[in-house]
Every structure is written in structure tokens, then in C-alpha cells.
Amino acid sequence: MARPLSPHLTWYKPQITSVLSILHRLTGIALAVGSIALAWWVVAVAVGGATFANTTAVYTSIIGQIFLFGWTLALSFHLSNGIRHLFWDAGYGFEMTTVNRSGMAVLLMTAVLTIVVWLIALIG
């Protein structure tokens, strides 16, 4: 059965509502890819030896750290915006002023969570 596909992203004028909605999907995809890195780490701990050493070397390299920072950012955002989505599913926060304000709150939460996580990781 031929059903219409969704219009592609380039059709829309960027607004906080649409940008956060798109970011929710993108961060979701990034985190799905990140689940491979997590599973790999758990397996590497169990296997030990050279496997664990190589994994640690990759994860603590510059590129590895950039990826881990990106995943922290993605998780912080997806978690914050996901809570916002659950409030919508429960029927709250649909007024445009509330939607814009909760969107700003999500961005603030994302920044705070990411910074706190990395401060603890680097200092503690």
C-alpha cells in the first residue's frame, strides 16, 4: 500500500519548537549508535587483557573523548526533552508560551547536565 512519506527537514523555517523536535530525533539516533560503544565497553571489561587496553586507548583518545562528550550532550538533551514530551503525552504544557519556555528550559538543563557530568568526570 503506497502511503505518503513525511516531508523532509529543509521545508521548514527553523523555530525553537521544530529545531528541538529535530534534535530529539538526531540525539536519539546518536544514542542508539552510542549503545554499541556501551555494549562494547561491558564486553571489553569481561574479556579483559589487550581488548580492554585497546578499548580504553580508543575511548580516552581525542576523537574518543569528543564522541563521549557528544554522547553526554545527546543524552542530557534527549533526557530533558524526553521529560518534556512525557508532559505533553500527559496533556500538559501545550500553550505556545509554555512550549517556548519549556524548550528554553530543556536547553538550559542540557548545558547544566553536560557541564556537571564532565566536571565530575575530569575532577572527581
Binding site: V42, T72, L79, V117
Partner: protein, 217 residues
């Protein structure tokens, strides 16, 4: 035009319309001579029994203008609607039932509300689990193999980590599937992509749990 003239013309018009009405009634009974004959007595005793249905609908239009006959024909019509399989009310009811059956399980997700519900339930569960995960993994990020192994070997950590990985992968599969449904053209390619993602998620879950069991024993 004077008032008297106007009255006269009004009277003329109304008498003309009366005449028309009686003529219409006459012509109608002329059109259905059989209905009035004693060879079809059932019509008078059992209401609609002897009626020809197609004729009944033809008659409805002129009936709108008749005061006294309207009531009788209306009650006839009500019975007709209920009895006739092609009545709009019954038809729309049947169409609605068919469309509902079609909509169930044939939306973009093919399982409809169930997938939506699982996505929300896993999201809700992932709020505390993700916070636990972030806090734990920060502490483990620069850990040695022995420290990490000891930490994962502790039953509570192993159990929560297993639950987190399984629920996160379940949540991820629904999300990726919905992305494919929106942007992958072609039923076959889409089905293959979804199957591949499910396979990867399954392998990741099994590998992680096997590793956690290996560390625990």
C-alpha cells in the same frame, strides 16, 4: 396595484396551488394504480409490505410540499431507512467499522497504539536508569580493568546495567524504526532496515548480558 387587487391575485395564486396539489395527488395515484387495487390488500393492513421501494424514494420530493400527507410518508420513510441496506446511516456505520479494522495494525507502526505505549513506558523507566548510568559511568570512565570488573560484578550494578541496556535498546529500536518509516522509501528496503536494526539490538543485548554473567561468576 391596489390592496383589493393584491388580495384578489393572492387568492388566485392560492387556489391555483390547491388545484395543482390535487392534480399532483391524482397523478400520483394514477402512476401507481396497482397499489390502490384490492389485489394488493397488504398495503393498507401491514403498512409498507406492498410498497415498491424505488417508487417510494421518487415520491419523497413532491411530498415535501404537502401538509397532511407529510406525516404519514415520514413514518414510512423511517421504516425504510432501517430496512434498506443502502441507507446512508447504515452504510456509514459499516464503512466506519471497515475503516477502523483497517486502521488497527495498518498504520505506520503496524501495531498502532501498543508501540506508542511501549515507547512511553520505556522512556519513563529510562529517566532514573539514565541518571544512574551517567553517574556510574563517570566514576568508571577512567577506571582500570580490575576496578571496572569488580564494579560490574556487584549484583546490583550488574542487574541495573542489564535492565538499562535492554530497556534502552528496546526504546532505541522503536525510535530508529519510526525514523525509517518516515525516510526510507520502499516497503522491502524499510522492512530489511528495521530487521537489521532489531538484529543488531538483539546481539548487543545478548553480548552485554553474557559479559555481565561472565563477570558475576
Amino acid at each position: 396595484m391596489s390592496d383589493t387587487q393584491k388580495d384578489a391575485s393572492d387568492n388566485k395564486t392560492s387556489s391555483e396551488s390547491e388545484k395543482n396539489t390535487s392534480e399532483q395527488n391524482k397523478s400520483r395515484s394514477d402512476r401507481h394504480p396497482k397499489d390502490e387495487k384490492p389485489s394488493h390488500p397488504s398495503r393498507n393492513h401491514h403498512g409498507v409490505e406492498g410498497h415498491n421501494e424505488s417508487d417510494e424514494y421518487e415520491e419523497q420530493v413532491p411530498d415535501q410540499d404537502h401538509g397532511t400527507q407529510k406525516e404519514d410518508d415520514d413514518s414510512d420513510e423511517v421504516i425504510k431507512v432501517a430496512r434498506t441496506p443502502t441507507s446512508p446511516a447504515l452504510l456509514s456505520q459499516l464503512e466506519h467499522r471497515r475503516d477502523y479494522a483497517r486502521a488497527r495494525g495498518l498504520g505506520a507502526g503496524h501495531t498502532g497504539a501498543a508501540t506508542w505505549k511501549i515507547q512511553r513506558m520505556t522512556a519513563l523507566a529510562l529517566i532514573p536508569l539514565a541518571i544512574w548510568f551517567v553517574v556510574s559511568v563517570i566514576r568508571m570512565s577512567f577506571a582500570s580493568q580490575s576496578a571496572a570488573a569488580a564494579w560490574l560484578a556487584w549484583p546490583v550494578n550488574a542487574a541495573v546495567m542489564a535492565v538499562f541496556i535492554v530497556i534502552a535498546l528496546r526504546h532505541a529500536v522503536i525510535g530508529i524504526e519510526s525514523v525509517f518509516e518516515d525516510y526510507v522509501d520502499g516497503e522491502g528496503l524499510r522492512a530489511a532496515s528495521v530487521l537489521l536494526v532489531k538484529l543488531i539490538a538483539f546481539v548487543l543485548a545478548v553480548a552485554s548480558i553474557a559479559a555481565l554473567i561472565h563477570l558475576a561468576i
